[in-house]
Amino acid sequence: MRPKLELESVRKAFDATKVLDGISLSVREGEFVSILGPSGAGKSTVFQILTGGIEADGGAIRLDGEPLATRQGRFAFMPQRDALMPWRRIIDNATLGLEVQGVPRRAARDKVQPLFPEFGLAGFENHYPAQLSGGMRQRAALLRTVVQERDMLLLDEPFGALDALTRVGMQRWLEAMWKRHRWTALLVTHDVREAVFLSDRIYVLSARPARVLHEVPVPLPRPRDAGAAGLRQASAIEAAVLESLLNPEATEGSNR
């Protein structure tokens, strides 16, 4: 099956600092893939290249087999933290992407409104972000992301700012949502457990300049939070991934 998104030897340097040293990866339709790497490895740079913030220095990016020429409008991006606008009510935050696309406000609201119950936000349409808990804000941010109906979701450490318990709750919720909607998603994270819990496959990046150290498949049954056997397997994968991150020289290439 042809990959939905394909990156081939993508390189990027800022002045003299090499950030991406030939990143190759692919995401299939309906697949949940994670990019896992140490902080400052350049994971977010990959997303900035995809969303048009910066240009790659070299390499190829293909979406549906076509070179990605017009960057804008193919990816729905969820930035670190929630990036909700404090001056907009939740419903107006959720419709932001549609508004930028030129959808009239009324039509955008009509489209977003029915999704509030599924995102656990029913009754909070007219609240301001400051009135919501961290988990609810994150769900609102995901709602804002998915209603754009783009080809792919790009999730940049979406739960990094949450407390540990809320984070686990959000991961379970996101997995359930993903199972239902089968979004094609690329997640950037430095949380090994999060990557293993959510992903079909994981690309493990090295420290800067980032290269792909390993591609780790996660052949675990879903939902991921059920069953002792699944948990044991997950722990084994987590341990292997962690080892490859902490001792990159010892394990490099062994899992390719």
């Binding site: 991006f77 670190q80 404090p86 930028v100 790009l154």
Partner: protein, 259 residues
């Protein structure tokens, strides 16, 4: 409103402080035997203000007009300039030093010149009020645009928003808290700016009234005019707080913990 101090608790201390000052002043004036033409007591100032209420009102109105017109021009100018600086970096680099220099001009020197160039009418007052008030707002706005959360900027870019859209959707609203901080500083200069402009030359206004009262050895009337000027500034200051609450309804939610 739970956990919010009552109106009395919020305004009481200031009222007590001001009343104490006035009482101390009155007692000093009564007991020290100082001449009323040197230091008039608060009661004398109030009494003379009442007797001269018609003249004071006639002179306060042009000052209020000059203040409000000058400040409106200043506000509009500060916003337009800040937006131009936001979109065109060369404009920022070219004009910012000019504006900093404009703030170094001593008002004592510049006010008579502005009157000399633009006459005794409204225009020199508007210009001088704008000169003393636009800079805090301009700095606040420019800094406010820069305070826009990086994630929000990246998000809008990923959505395909133009710079123009991003300005209105994110940068301008992000600047609001900074803008109101600058506005509160500016508004306290506005009345003083108008009075200074009138002092340098005007047919009517609190500034020229103060000058005449001083020349007639009437410190009581000088202080009466000063009290009116202070009251005007307080009213304008309170108005900015009110406007901010209306313009930023989410701010109060952020300041108190949710439920």
């Amino acid at each position: 409103m739970p956990n919010t101090p009552s109106f009395l608790a919020r305004t009481g201390p200031a009222a007590v402080a001001i009343a104490s000052l006035l009482v101390a002043w009155q007692l000093y004036s009564d007991l020290s035997g100082i001449s009323q033409t040197t230091l008039p007591s608060p009661l004398r100032v109030a009494g003379q203000a009442w007797l001269n209420r018609r003249a004071l009102a006639d002179n306060a109105l042009p000052t209020i007009r000059a203040t409000l017109l000058g400040f409106s021009c200043s506000l509009a100018g500060a916003f337009l300039l800040s937006a131009a600086m936001n979109f065109f970096a060369p404009v920022r680099r070219a004009l910012f030093p000019v504006f900093v220099i404009s703030q170094t001009l001593p008002l004592v020197a510049i006010a008579p010149l502005v009157v000399l160039w633009f006459g005794f009418g409204l225009l020199p007052k508007i210009l001088l009020v704008a000169l003393v008030t636009f800079f805090p707002m301009l700095v606040a706005l420019v800094q406010g645009y820069e305070s826009t959360e990086k994630e929000i900027t990246l998000l809008l870019r990923s959505m395909g928003a133009s710079r123009w859209r991003s300005f209105w959707l994110a940068r301008a609203p992000s600047a609001l808290p900074f803008f109101f901080a600058g506005l509160r500083i500016s508004i306290t200069y506005a009345v003083v700016g108008a009075i200074f402009a009138e002092y340098a030359g005007a047919t009517r206004g609190l500034g020229i009234y103060i000058l005449k009262a001083k020349n007639n050895f009437r410190p009581d009337l000088v202080l009466a005019a000063v009290a009116i000027s202070a009251a005007l500034t307080l009213v304008l200051f309170a108005a900015t707080g009110l406007v901010q609450r209306l313009a930023m309804p989410w701010l109060r939610l952020e300041q108190k913990p949710t439920r």
